[in-house]
């Protein structure tokens, strides 16, 4: 093989390719960290929204924003299929209000027995209440 006035590029074209499939699974106390994943769920009012996750994930936090001013009895919950991961969040809040697991002890929970969702398992967001209970939800997770 010979190169005369030539250029050899051995490089990957990685733009816009990176996703959860590339992430390393991180064990406890690992020294390199685990990349953070965000699952964005557009959760309509009074609806169960299911996301079948490709990889095994561990849900570590949930936050979001309200889409409209809430009404009485409106709640949001994140589940591993039929099993609750978080407490039931009160989302009777103003339009654009920040939603987070921080309100009080009853809501502010993550069940470590349910937080790991298996490959092809179901990440579920359930909104309950009035037609104004829609929200944009961001589930923070890592690969398991």
């Amino acid at each position: 093989m010979s190169f005369v006035n030539a250029t050899l590029f051995v490089s990957g074209n990685f733009q816009n390719q990176l996703n959860g499939q590339n992430m390393l699974s991180g064990a406890d106390n690992n020294t390199e960290g685990t990349p953070l994943l965000v699952f964005e769920v557009d959760s309509p009012a009074a609806t169960t929204t299911n996301v079948t996750v490709t990889n095994g994930i561990r849900v570590i936090d949930v936050l979001g924003h309200k889409n409209a001013a809430g009404g009485g009895g409106e709640t949001l919950q994140t589940l591993n299929a039929g099993n609750a991961i978080t407490g039931t969040l009160d989302i009777n809040v103003a339009n654009n209000a920040f939603i987070r697991l921080a309100a009080d002890t009853a809501q502010n929970t993550i069940d470590d027995a349910q937080q790991e969702i298996a490959p092809a398992g179901t990440l579920r967001e359930t909104t309950v209440g009035a037609v104004t209970s829609a929200a944009d939800i961001y589930v923070l997770a890592t690969r398991t």
């Binding site: 005369v4 990685f14 390393l24 390199e32 993550i110």
Partner: protein
């Protein structure tokens, strides 16, 4: 095979299940591409230190923990530190099982952990103090 005034491009793809902090770039403040977030996780059980020697320099951005193993007891706390220097306040883990507790302060001076430095999780209080601790971080721009 000969190449004369030509260009050969061998394209690749990103390997699956391989990406960790080693692949992340260090970026300065106000960078226009964003900085990849990393999560460090430890299960703290009882009283004492859990030390993790980091391979890369990172900046700790936020910390929270989730209570495990039942309700806490009086005096139960968890603190995250850079070696012996506290990064967070002492998070009170005298709370019900599964409760999320967030650090309310991050010491900016101590939040930068050097490569080879120690990310320390310290449990205090009762022997039954237990929680999963999450440290949100990014590669340090000084690394």
């Amino acid at each position: 095979m000969a190449f004369v005034q030509d260009t050969l491009i061998i394209e690749g793809s990103i390997a699956t299940n391989n990406l960790d902090a080693n692949a992340m770039a260090s970026r300065a403040d106000q960078n226009v591409l964003g900085r990849e977030a990393l999560v460090y996780r430890a299960a703290v059980a009882g009283v004492g230190n859990t030390d993790v020697t980091l391979q890369q320099a990172v900046r700790v951005l936020a910390v929270w923990c989730v209570k495990t193993g039942g309700a806490g007891a009086g005096g139960d706390t968890i603190t995250v530190s850079n070696g012996a220097s506290a990064i967070t306040n002492a998070m009170v883990t005298n709370v019900a099982d599964t409760t999320v507790v967030r650090a309310t302060s991050v010491d900016r001076t101590n939040a930068n952990i050097a490569a080879g430095g120690t990310l320390r999780y310290t449990g205090a209080g009762a022997a039954t103090n237990a929680a999963i601790v999450y440290v949100l971080a990014a590669r340090n721009s000084g690394a």
